[in-house]
Symmetry: C2
Amino acid sequence: FQFNLMVIGRSGLGKSTLINTLFASNLMQSSARTSPEQPLPQTMEIEPKSCLIEENNVRLELTCIDTPGFGDVLDNEKCWDPIIKYIKDQHSTYLRSELTAKRPLFTPDTRVHACLYFIQPTGKGLRSLDILVLRKLCEVVNVIPVIGKADALTSDEKRALKTRIREELNFHRLRCYPYDLETHDEDDRKSNALIRDMLPFAVVGSTKEYTVDGTTFLGRKTRWGTLNIEDPEHSEFIYLRDFLTRTHLQDLIDTTSQIHYETFRCRQLNA
Amino acid sequence: FQFNLMVIGRSGLGKSTLINTLFASNLMQSSARTSPEQPLPQTMEIEPKSCLIEENNVRLELTCIDTPGFGDVLDNEKCWDPIIKYIKDQHSTYLRSELTAKRPLFTPDTRVHACLYFIQPTGKGLRSLDILVLRKLCEVVNVIPVIGKADALTSDEKRALKTRIREELNFHRLRCYPYDLETHDEDDRKSNALIRDMLPFAVVGSTKEYTVDGTTFLGRKTRWGTLNIEDPEHSEFIYLRDFLTRTHLQDLIDTTSQIHYETFRCRQLNA
Ligand SMILES: Nc1nc2c(ncn2[C@@H]2O[C@H](COP(=O)(O)OP(=O)(O)O)[C@@H](O)[C@H]2O)c(=O)[nH]1
Ligand SMILES: Nc1nc2c(ncn2[C@@H]2O[C@H](COP(=O)(O)OP(=O)(O)O)[C@@H](O)[C@H]2O)c(=O)[nH]1
């Protein structure tokens, strides 16, 4: 099993913390500069990092693709070009190995199966940069919108922001995962509608443990109370975890190869 | 008494909420677009809004200058130019009325006495845009750095971020308010050093009231506890309020006219 997950969003939105919490590993190091002398990021890089995970007796080779510096430079015109190029390059590597005469038995799959796009919890919806980048991403990869650091929102603000973002995704015709196909029956359509109602996932991540009233859990300790990331009232973390590692893992891989890769392959062979 | 306060920072950092809480009024309307159809801000505007405030038997004519759209457009090169131009224009209006032969008894003062600069609570310190804008602002106005929405930080993260920002302000030689003058004695220097140790103020604002255990207070209700903005453990709001409306109000006005305005005047008359 090979699963490749790309993570995109401004620095400081809790991306590395969330990935390390989701896959209970130390896969992503936070991209923080540790001292003022270090120069600020002038360009964006693309850094894949891999590790092996055992989840319910399934061996999963996970690769996380981080994009440090995204949206943090002064002029963000065309900052999405290197990301789209990376995704297309993986498709063309796969295509090349598919077309070679003497094909290896097992083709390594580096295609990006899902992309977590982090939205700021400011309560103001999508920014102009978000809309432009999402427009490009939705054409080439399965995009899953996520609100980072959702503990900065009260229950009402969270509900209002999720509705607002769903409206904006519809208005700008940004087609996120899951897709409705002609081959889908009534049940498939219903389960897709349920997922769409949960998007964007408002998550809180943490790698620190706290013990309150005898129960130990991962959370964040504030001066007015301690938050438990696995409590669905506090954070939609467990919904995102189940979605990514259990219920939709296989479908994300299949959709990538049946929809995104086939569209790419058609265009290349017709060109 | 005339006091002009400029507020700069990306949208959604809680600027309007904080100003309305500081001055117990509805002075600033949040710049949120209410529906997806409304266009995203393409440029930054500068909007002064005035109101009359009674604080401890002193009538204060307060003007708040908002900068909706700051840092939210795609290409932020030179986005600070309109702000610096606005500040200098107020100085030159004041200079012109000072130089006219028949001077009115009372010259209206629209010079900017203080500028609250909002930093994002991401834990990553100053971004490249922050450093460039602060460099320009510190030359023409009293700048007071503030961390917005500080409830997104735990106590340790808050302490680490404040230290980190102070280090970066020193490293980039950004001179915020208060200034050390030759005329100052030992006591003045000590009181300035105390203020510098409190900068940046990590504040949480709110205009909603909650009642917990019989006491009513302004706060934010989360699923794991209710925060009281006037509790110094939860938010440095009361320190910023005392600093701005009581202890340093007069000094901010004096420093503007003795340092920033005189520097401007000298340059203009020598030019
Ligand atoms: N309030 C809040 N802070 C978080 C959360 N997740 C991480 N953090 C803190 O935010 C800071 C930056 O997180 P990091 O994961 O490095 O962000 P990244 O730059 O997006 O990878 C760290 O100090 C974390 O402790 C969260 O869900 N809520
Ligand atoms: N977590 C948190 N949210 C806040 C705070 N102050 C305001 N908000 C919320 O953030 C949203 C945007 O605030 P607003 O004042 O309009 O931000 P502005 O665009 O910077 O003026 C609103 O939904 C507020 O309820 C705060 O201190 N902490």
